[in-house]
């Protein structure tokens, strides 16, 4: 049953992993370059003229971590598997775009956030006896 569901996803959805056409192209001409912490797999055409990512699950470009991002966009020649970027101690963990999820960023004062309004113009402190 699960296999059937996977097959259905592969055939009819574009937001899980890669589309069937992309998988076909990769399987014909691509070679595996590496895999990131989330399990996304990176391929390139021989010589590196085309580069792909096959998402492990939901296809969302913001899931590509910063170390793979420049390679994927042809900014860097070497993938992080060969030339790992220097990690600074102050660097934070990569977080995909959370918009649309309960973890989305709410600015202070947002009604969907804490509800406490920030000080605004025209506010005053009233005298209380």
């Amino acid at each position: 049953m699960r296999l059937l569901g996977r097959l259905f996803q592969l055939l009819f959805t574009w937001w899980n992993g890669a589309t069937i056409g992309t998988l076909w192209t990769i399987s014909r001409t691509g070679q595996l370059v590496g895999e990131d912490e989330q399990g996304n797999r990176y391929y390139q055409q021989r010589g590196g003229s085309r580069r792909w990512v096959v998402y492990n699950g939901y296809a969302d470009a913001s899931r590509v971590p910063p170390e793979w991002h420049p390679w994927l966009h042809h900014t860097l020649k070497e993938p992080p598997t060969l030339a790992p970027p220097k990690v600074k101690p102050w660097e934070k963990e990569h977080v995909p775009n959370m918009t649309g999820t309960p973890f989305a960023y709410r600015p202070p004062g947002s009604l969907a956030g804490t509800g406490a309004r920030a000080r605004g113009t025209g506010d005053y402190e009233a005298w209380k006896p």
Partner: protein
């Protein structure tokens, strides 16, 4: 006069003008950073370079136009063309671009986070003279540590371009030689000695003077941008000088207060209290009526409050009612209150919260206007050559006026003496001791000061409320009037005239209230009488129009109605609170010490249910069945003008009063002066003199940090 050609057109100008001023007179704008009309000339920014062509030949090099006067130019030779100042030639532009390049070498590019952004001279002038073609400075930029200059002035010293305007202001205008430039060359830094706060009441003005964002307002930091502010021209009420201010508001919030130029009043300075009081407008606000029920103030609505007042008034006889006007009231509300009280038959009226013995003639009728004005006018202080301060500390009571006195002293020829406790005024003062009875000796010519005043061409007295707000105040006033007439201070009217008899008030509302006759009527009580009467149960109902400076704990069982903007002493004692508008929230008329009538404008609206004061009185009068005969501000002002015609003449000082001896005899009441009680200055804490200032956190901080200051030390 000197003939000169400026950009091809011939002008005939005062030879004392600098080249820069001459160009200004010809309508040419000259960029500048260090030059300021009211400060000495430094000539160190070099931005005002122009080309001077002498005898038709191009000048050898550009000239700093601020540092050279027209008379410094060599005389024009026979048959040669006139000298020409060229302000727009390519040489000039290139020279200024060079100066700008040097200025920008070490200036950070942090305009997006700079509070000066949008009103920055450097930003503006970089638009005209900056260039981005070269970028030849590849070295590290200079960075300078921030300096502490007290709770009002924020410093970002990396932005400093060393124009030294702040140094010159502190040394020259404020009279506190505390800011300086240490180090030299690229390492020059502006600082105070060991980073102590500037001990001046005018220190906020260095924020305006700073052409870049090095000195900015600490309370205003990161609050607003100049272009999002609504600018309203108004009048200050923190002291009686009536400084012209510009209130910058965003929406309904006052964001800052800046000075406006008025050479006759405040030049372009304002005191720190004026400038930084705005956060007091947002705190301790009375925003709804309160009525005391079972000993507790409870929130009420307007009809309820009015009904409570009407019920009280219906059972009180007019002779058991009283009204006192506070220090910040506008003339309109004073007029409305006076009309209402007169309609009710109340004679116990007073506007002199401090008990100053002014405004009344010996027989109890209204005294002459000259008896309570700063008759010489504020600007004429600069003409004085002998000045006797009587029981006044102008530095606390009117800091901007004090700066004017200092200016006159700096020009030389001003002899200043004082009868009163010693206090540092930032200029040397000859101490005559603190024996009030010496006034009679001076008036009779038995004192050395008499001769000094007599021999002076333009002698002047400044009499403070410290000398008049005492039981023998009328005698002090009479003695002062006698000094004035005996030493020839009272000259003819008109342009060539002179009158040096000056009173220095501490309350912005005082002169208007005296003009409108808010004084005890026949058989009426004055402030002290009202308070004592309330304590003894002889006054049942007391109406306070923003009056907080009386002893509210001594009011006994009296029923107190408080109309005001801030919850202060008066509101705490009140039985009914009517929320009014602060001075930034109503169009109002104020009369300053010299009798100049000025209009304040509304910058924002009163909070909550608060209303403009006169409308409250108008509504109340209807409930009381004594409807006031005006429905609009225009009608009220008309009524005011028929009462006191000069109140309709805006922005005009009355000029010297007539030298009629009858007037000067009617000022004060001759009598003995109590020598056992020396004069005491009315202001002990400059920063906390009124309810709005007391609500301000900034001024409270100033008051704390200035607490250790030796204010009573003798002048250097």
């Amino acid at each position: 006069m000197t003939k000169i050609i400026i950009d091809g057109k011939e002008y005939d100008l005062d030879p004392n003008l600098t080249l820069l001023q001459a160009c200004e007179a010809a309508g040419k704008e000259i960029p500048r950073f260090c030059f300021h009309e009211r400060l000495s000339i430094a000539g160190n920014c070099r931005m005002c370079l122009v080309e001077v062509r002498m005898g038709g030949r191009p000048g050898p090099k550009p000239v700093a136009s601020c540092a050279q006067q027209l008379r410094d130019l060599p005389p024009v030779k026979e048959g040669q063309p006139l000298h020409e100042i060229v302000t727009g030639s390519p040489t000039v532009k290139k020279a200024r671009e060079g100066v700008m390049e040097f200025l920008l070498i070490n200036h950070p590019l942090d305009c997006p986070i700079c509070d000066q952004g949008g009103e920055c001279d450097l930003q503006d002038q970089a638009m005209a003279y900056g260039h981005d073609k070269l970028e030849r400075f590849k070295e590290n930029k200079r960075a300078v540590t921030e300096k502490n200059m007290g709770p009002l002035v924020k410093t970002i010293m990396t932005r400093c371009i060393h124009c030294t305007r702040c140094v010159r202001f502190a040394a020259e205008v404020a009279g506190v030689d505390e800011i300086g430039a240490i180090g030299r060359g690229e390492d020059m830094e502006i600082t105070t000695y060991l980073e102590k706060a500037v001990t001046s009441e005018l220190s906020g003005n260095i924020i305006d003077l700073c052409p870049v964002g090095a000195l900015t307002s600490k309370p205003y930091a990161f609050n607003a941008r100049p272009w999002e502010l609504k600018k309203i021209e108004s009048i200050d009420v923190m002291d009686a000088l009536g400084a012209n201010i510009r209130i910058d508001a965003r929406g309904r919030e006052v964001m800052r207060i800046l000075p406006r130029n008025n050479d006759d009043v405040n030049e372009e300075w304002i005191s720190d209290k004026t400038r930084f009081v705005w956060d007091g407008l947002k705190r301790q606000r009375l925003d709804r009526p309160y009525v005391r029920k079972d000993g507790k103030l409870t929130e009420a609505d307007w009809p309820e409050a009015f009904a409570a007042i009407a019920a009280r008034f219906a059972t009180t006889k007019p002779e058991r009612m009283a009204a006192i006007v506070g220090d910040l009231a506008d003339a309109e509300s004073i007029k409305a209150l006076k009309d209402l009280m007169t309609a009710l038959g109340v004679v116990n009226l007073d506007c002199r919260q401090d008990g100053a013995k002014i405004g009344l003639a010996p027989d109890g009728t209204r005294g002459p206007r000259a008896g309570y004005l700063f008759n010489s006018g504020i600007a004429s202080v600069e003409a004085a050559d002998a000045l006797l301060l009587i029981g006044t500390n102008p530095r606390m009571e009117a800091p901007v006026l004090n700066a004017r006195i200092r200016k006159a002293w700096l020009r030389g020829n001003l002899n200043i003496a004082r009868l009163g406790p010693p206090a540092d005024l930032n200029y040397p003062v000859c101490e005559l001791g603190n024996n009030p009875a010496d006034l009679i000796a001076i008036a009779d010519g038995r004192h050395a000061a008499f001769e000094t005043l007599k021999s002076a061409k333009h002698p002047m007295l400044i009499i403070g409320m410290g000398a008049l707000a005492r039981p023998d105040g009328a005698a002090v006033l009479a003695a002062c009037a006698k000094i004035a007439s005996a030493t020839g201070m009272i000259g003819p009217e008109g342009e060539a005239g002179w009158n040096g008899f000056n009173l220095l008030h501490t309350a912005a509302a005082r002169v208007a209230a005296l003009d409108l006759g808010f004084l005890p009527g026949q058989g009426g009580r004055d402030t002290a009488g009202i308070v004592a009467g309330a304590g003894k149960g002889e006054i049942d109902t007391l109406f306070l129009l923003g009056a907080d400076e009386i002893d509210t704990r001594a009011l006994g069982k009296a029923f107190v109605i408080y109309l005001g903007s801030h919850g202060d002493k008066g509101a705490h004692r009140a039985d009914i609170i009517l929320p009014g508008a602060a001075y930034t929230e109503k169009p109002g008329t104020y009369v300053n010490i010299e009798g100049r009538v000025q209009r304040a404008n509304r910058a924002s609206f009163p909070p909550g249910e608060a209303k403009e004061d006169w409308t409250i009185l108008r509504a109340l009068s209807e409930v009381l069945g004594r409807k006031l005969p005006y429905d609009s501000l225009a009608q009220l002002r008309e009524a005011m003008a028929s009462d006191a015609p000069h109140v309709a003449q805006l922005d005009k000082a009355p000029g010297f009063p007539p030298a009629d001896p009858a007037i000067w005899r009617a000022i004060g009441t001759a009598g003995p002066i109590d020598n056992a009680h020396p004069f005491v200055y009315p202001i002990s804490d400059f920063y906390l003199t009124n309810p709005i200032a007391r609500a301000s956190a900034t001024l409270a901080e100033c008051s704390r940090s200035s607490a250790g200051r030796p204010l009573a030390s003798a002048a250097e």
